[in-house]
């Protein structure tokens, strides 16, 4: 029996115990395993996940201040299966990837705005949010010698380091797969990157998709308008780009690195969407170079 089969066997046992129903493996990203049984899911976190920060994040998710914003765990306890940390959650209905046109952009924006408005002092202390660190680790996985790898690294090298600041509560890895519907309400899921940080990073993925020309301007503006109408402060007021430029550029680098790594892994040239991202990287380099060479007076 392989290691992953053994893990899935243990997760099935745990899920069945909590959910009292037959267990099934749900599709998710490769470093995480999720098994559902009836009304619960059990999640084996990524290998190497540290226990102490995960405990703090689970405690935050269970806190009343995040009720109706984030999914609350079934138990605050962290279980173990093999060498993996496991948490237990209510099973919700995710956004349907087969109909991306029906994706709940406004609901997402409102949830993020409300998350960003929760004062950090209302919660137990949290580790830094996960966004900025992920950019470098994703780029590090690329073949450094390929033309795409060279371009992605060069783009990353153009970007100034993210500014340190007091920060606010930030999801740290928001995308359309990070929401479920439970009892008719949308909620944010996945505490793995939850923490204190620049909340603009939670808007950076859609901002990057819009800037690349992949997300329709109409959808982007609906998302941003809903975020601001709910009191979201991460994009400032007026022109959002002074706050969004750097995180959206960094996310473009990350998305390009992940997309190119996938194409390399599948042994094929970049497809149209991946080429759009590579073009965006080229524009970022030109934009940053032009900014640097403006004489200061």
């Amino acid at each position: 029996m392989s290691e992953s089969e053994a893990l899935i066997g243990e997760l099935r046992d745990l899920a069945t115990r909590y959910g009292a129903a037959p267990a099934e493996v749900l599709p998710t990203r490769p470093d995480v395993t999720v098994v559902r049984a009836g009304a619960v899911v059990v999640k084996a976190h990524s290998p190497g996940t540290a226990r102490a920060p995960l405990e703090r994040r689970i405690r935050a998710a269970a806190h009343p201040a995040l009720r109706e914003i984030m999914l609350q765990p079934v138990t605050g306890e962290i279980l173990v299966a093999g060498d993996r940390l496991v948490t237990v959650w209510p099973a919700g209905t995710p956004v349907d990837p087969r109909s991306p046109q029906a994706a709940p952009w406004e609901e997402a924006a409102r949830l993020l705005a409300r998350l960003h408005a929760v004062p950090s002092r209302a919660l137990p202390p949290l580790p830094p949010a996960g966004g900025p660190a992920r950019v470098a680790t994703t780029v590090a996985r690329l073949d450094p010698g390929s033309p795409a790898g060279i371009l992605v690294r060069r783009t990353l090298a153009c970007l100034p380091p993210p500014a340190d600041g007091p920060g606010s509560l930030t999801h740290g890895d928001w995308h359309m797969g990070q929401m479920v519907r439970l009892r008719g309400e949308w909620l944010l899921i996945d505490v793995d990157d939850l923490g204190t940080g620049d909340p603009a990073w939670d808007l950076a993925r859609p901002a990057a998709w819009f800037a690349a020309g992949l997300l329709e301007p109409e959808v982007w503006h609906r998302f941003l308008a809903a975020y601001r109408a709910e009191g979201g402060h991460a994009a400032g007021t007026g022109d959002p780009w002074p706050r969004l430029d750097l995180p959206a550029q960094a996310l473009t680098v990350q998305l390009t690195a992940a997309a190119v790594a996938k194409a390399e892994h599948e042994g094929r040239p970049p497809d149209e969407v991946e080429r759009v991202l590579l073009d965006t990287c080229r524009r970022i380099v030109r934009f940053r170079d032009a900014c640097h060479s403006v004489p200061t007076q």
Binding site: P100, A212, L215, H221, G238, V273, C291, S293, P295
Partner: protein
């Protein structure tokens, strides 16, 4: 005219329309009102003739789109494309 620093005698030169008073004693230079600006202007003209000008700063974008964004229309025909949907839903 007497040098304000060392009290030496100052001699007046004219170079390309700029009056320069230079002290024979300490070699200090005195510029009349507006002459420094004239020199600066002439220097920058010279620099422009002898170096390629720096690239202009990125033009300000209309409110709502970043300067590094997609130039015209986007690529919105990709909604059925696997890699776009995959990206929308993955870490």
């Amino acid at each position: 005219m007497q040098c304000p620093k060392c009290r030496g005698a100052m001699r007046t030169y004219e170079r390309n329309g700029v009056h320069i008073d230079q002290c024979d004693g300490c070699r200090g230079i005195f510029l009349d009102y507006g002459e420094l600006e004239t020199l600066t202007r002439m220097e920058s003209q010279w620099a422009q003739q002898h170096h390629t000008a720096p690239p202009p700063p990125p033009p300000p974008m209309p409110h709502g789109a970043p300067g590094w964004g997609a130039p015209h229309h986007g690529h919105y025909g990709h909604h059925r494309q696997r890699s776009w949907v995959g990206m929308l839903f993955s870490t």
